[in-house]
């Protein structure tokens, strides 16, 4: 049953449920797959996958199933072959074609199809053996074998289902790989929040008319505060030595944040290894801003995002810093604690994968800030953490 296929998708975090199963069944009942493996692949993909993030997982599961890696997949294959040999649902099959398929030893054809499906590892066009497009193999599409089994509609130059499943074209869209600018932008956009407050009031036309009507035609103006983006974000990025490998990623995050127009305010600062008494502005002047001033200027409703690998020498985190004044001789971890205390919502994004978070300064920082990897999933979770609820 293809139900097993659905469960395998679920196991890979592709959210498919009853609704998807029923619509796929309905599509198959209508012959939308055109009784072909390619058709089945494309139809199933259109109905079972709802986001490009899951396309890669879908391809993986599909390829696994149809190459017969786990034995359990044989059943699904049987079902598929059943569809393949059912000519009733194939509209473009003319009488001659049908006769030729029936003339061939079906069991033999099926055995060879199955075998080649297992062997086949990549796209194949032309030639006389593999299942693919063009060529004279008995299996495939747009081919010249007189009694072959056509896979999919007549077409040219496109990847067959299995081939494209095997090629894993959608790997870049996985949500657990590291981000590019646009994806970061999308993730940050989730931080958008609207509120009606502050600023010049605007005319509430509906309410004005309602009141005027109730007032027997005497005009009564009703105003309300305009709806506007209400998220203020402070971004602090580590530019210390150990961050060098992540320089491109961090600059992408920064440009995405800068481009985001849906924040009411975005302040971006850099620091080295750990936040001490001062952080630095990101423009050309690199002017130092004392953290105390920053905390004074920014209320607790700002959302704080720290980006760094949190890996440093222990004295850098726990030792006193080298500020000139007494109150600045506070350890890095204490400064981090102060930031965490001040802001209602804050997160730490780590460009290293979670598997590399074994350094003990990382654990120390994780005790202060909720830490997320700098991947699409991670940024998504971080944004959730930043927007969830109003207080800690």
């Amino acid at each position: 049953m293809f139900i097993r296929f659905l469960y395998e998708l679920r196991a890979r975090q592709v959210p498919v449920g009853v609704q998807e199963a029923v619509s796929l069944a309905a599509a198959l009942a209508r012959g939308l797959h055109e009784s072909s493996l390619d058709g089945f692949y494309f139809t199933a993909r259109a109905l079972l996958v709802h986001s490009e993030r899951h396309l890669d997982d879908f391809d993986l599961v599909f390829a696994e199933h149809f190459r017969g890696v786990p034995g359990a997949a044989a059943k699904l294959l049987d079902e598929l072959l059943e569809w393949l040999e059912d000519p009733a649902t194939r509209p473009e099959l003319d009488a001659a074609e049908r006769a030729s398929i029936e003339a061939l030893d079906l069991a033999e054809l099926r055995r060879r199809f199955e075998q080649r499906l297992r062997e086949q590892r990549e796209r194949h066009d032309g030639g006389s053996h593999w299942i693919g497009t063009g060529g004279t193999s008995p299996f495939g599409r747009g081919g010249a074998h007189p009694s072959g089994l056509a896979v999919g509609a007549a077409g040219s130059g496109q990847r067959s289902g299995l081939a494209s499943a095997g090629a894993r074209l959608y790997r870049p869209y996985r949500s657990d790989v590291v981000l590019d600018v646009r994806q970061i932008e999308v993730a940050l956009r989730k931080l958008r929040a609207f509120a009606r407050e502050g600023a010049e009031p605007e005319l509430d036309v509906d309410a004005t008319i309602d009141r005027t009507a109730r007032n027997a035609g005497e005009l009564e103006i009703v105003t309300r505060p305009p709806r506007r983006a209400n998220t203020r974000v402070i971004l602090m990025m580590d530019v210390g030595g150990s961050m060098d490998p992540h320089a491109l990623l961090v600059s992408q995050l920064f440009s995405a944040a800068r481009r985001a127009t849906h924040f009411r305010e975005l302040r971006a600062y850099t620091f080295h290894n750990c936040v001490y008494g001062e952080v630095y502005e990101t423009d050309a002047h690199q002017r130092a801003v004392s953290v105390a001033t920053l905390l004074g200027e920014c209320g607790k409703h700002y959302k704080l995002v720290l980006v760094g690998d949190a890996s440093m020498a222990s004295y850098e985190l726990f030792g006193a810093s080298y500020g000139s004044r007494a109150e600045e001789r506070i350890s890095g971890i204490a400064w981090l604690g102060a930031l965490r205390q001040h802001f209602e919502r804050s997160v730490w994004l780590n460009p290293d994968p979670p598997s590399a978070w074994s350094h003990y300064t990382v654990s120390a920082v994780r005790e202060v800030f909720p830490m997320f990897p700098l991947t699409l999933d991670g940024v998504g979770d971080a944004v959730l953490e930043l927007t969830r609820g109003r207080s800690r």
Binding site: G31, F42, R45, A46, A153, G161, K190, V205, I209, G217
Partner: protein, 286 residues
């Protein structure tokens, strides 16, 4: 259960048009949406022809196309109808027309028009992700049932012909799960070189073979440059070739003097990155 085999002639299959090339996966998605009467959600890089697809579907089905451009301020209710209260207020003050007839001030939105249309239509909800997060959820009921009630008049609008609904998203926002579950999803891949060649051929038939090869090579090389932030897309390539043809340029080479580079790269920082990467040679390229 759904074991019955329905006749295939029940709906017209979509196979692309002479101006719009498709592939199997896109056709499968469109045909699923047509057969199951579900909205078709199309995503993909900007400039891969998401909006053009709606025009192609409308052309193939010979249906009128109704477009709803979604903006950040668009509310779901706007798509159904707008009650023009301001006009009514004006009319009441200057005693123009019959103010008591509220129907005169109900203006149907794109979705409302698609539902009320005499014949089947194709409704394109363009860039659904631009609107507020709740926007798609607010549309669920209307898209499912294809009916809505005009509160002010109590009139019920029921679709006589279920419109074909196509929705595009540029992925600026996650769409709600409940909404996604109701849609047939398709992600438009960026065309590979062979497919791009066919696309160019559709838009610029009879172009010199050598120029095609050179422009495509330059185009894909620029797309490979890691530091270019806004990578050029299909529409930009088509425009670029159009400019080259107009200017009568018969040969392009990927170097600093690439003609009309501005048609491909639209951001100043990308132009700088382009020059940098050419100067840096293969070292910086991925």
């Amino acid at each position: 259960m759904l074991r019955c085999r329905l006749p295939m002639t029940e709906f017209r299959r979509f196979r692309g048009t002479s101006r719009y090339l498709t592939n199997d996966s896109l056709e499968a998605a469109v045909n699923c949406a047509l057969a199951l009467e579900r909205p078709l959600l199309v995503k993909g890089e900007p400039g891969t022809g998401k909006t053009l697809l709606a025009e192609a579907i409308a052309e193939a089905l010979a249906c009128p196309l109704i477009t709803w451009h979604v903006k950040s301020t668009t509310r779901a209710a706007d798509g159904l109808y707008v009650y023009d209260t301001v006009q009514r207020l004006y009319d009441s003050r200057f005693e123009d027309g019959d103010v008591r007839d509220i129907r005169r001030y109900i203006k149907l939105g794109p979705l409302g028009e698609a539902l009320r249309a005499e014949a089947r239509s194709v409704l394109l909800i363009d860039e659904v992700d631009k609107a507020d997060l709740e926007f798609p959820n607010d549309l669920l009921h209307e898209l499912d049932r294809m009916r809505f009630r005009i509160q002010e008049t109590g009139e019920e609008v029921v679709a006589r012909h279920r419109p074909v609904v196509m929705i595009t998203s540029n992925n600026e926002k996650e769409l709600p799960d409940a909404f996604l579950r109701r849609c047939v999803f398709h992600f438009i891949d960026f065309p590979d070189e062979a497919f791009m060649r066919r696309i160019v051929d559709v838009h610029h038939p009879g172009l010199d073979e050598r120029l095609i090869a050179q422009t495509l090579a330059a185009f894909f090389e620029i797309r490979k440059m890691t530091r270019v932030r806004k990578r050029p897309s299909t529409s930009e390539l088509i425009d670029w070739i159009a400019v080259l043809r107009k200017a009568g340029i018969a040969e392009v080479r990927l170097d600093r003097s690439l003609p009309f580079l501005g048609a491909l790269l639209k951001k100043e920082q990308d132009l700088v990155a382009f020059a940098d990467q050419l100067a840096g040679g293969a070292r910086h390229r991925s």
